[in-house]
Amino acid sequence: MYNNQQAYHYNGLFDMKTVLSLQNCLKLTPIDRHYYAATVEICESNGVGETVTHNITDSDMSTEDSATTDPVANSITPGNRSMAKYQRLHVTAMGGSSKVLNIQVWRTGALGGAATHVTNARTSGYVQKSYAQPVTSSITNVDQAMPTSDPAAANLGISGSLTNELLATGYTDYLVHQLITNGADTAGSTSTMNYQYDEIA
């Protein structure tokens, strides 16, 4: 079981930033990685025709549809929603593994003010989300509070099912998530997104 963490720096007014360090988070020795570990990255999709930014290093929550948005220049007006994020785990190499499965996603750390964080990720009643150009309005089925601890069961699917497995390189379903700020909110925060999966040799 691997547990990747992304630090969300939530600076200024609703600026959420993700810092990704998969290699460090995998906590594997070089020989482990060579013989056993799949290579997994997090990708973000943007735009109408879907521009995919691979292996992202941060993830700022703002009003702009961009993987490299400036959250200060594109800050969220209190009371409004952020631009939704469409992100996937991407297995780019299987290494010595035969399958990747049991995808679990959650956030640790409080949000600024009374903001809430919603997602399509859920452990029951899961519905796969297709890609659509991100919006700042509400999205069907992106209405589940982002878990704030390990959900202890898959909450992000593969090809539409929480029990499916990646047997070769490929993507998980889209993790769609969005901040809903409160009109009284005045400051952002920093929190961490956690991505956990099982990998079978």
Partner: protein, 39 residues
């Protein structure tokens, strides 16, 4: 169907196909995304 654009989030190089991204040697990390990490 519009052609997807793929961008490496590490070195910012842009590709017209996923295969192009997976086979490039990233200037930022020194790694080829489609190959297992073998440090």
């Amino acid at each position: 169907m519009a052609e997807q654009i793929h961008i490496c989030g590490q070195c910012e190089e842009q590709f017209n196909s996923e295969e192009g991204y997976l086979s490039h040697e990233c200037e930022a990390t020194g790694q080829i995304p489609g190959e297992p990490i073998s440090e």
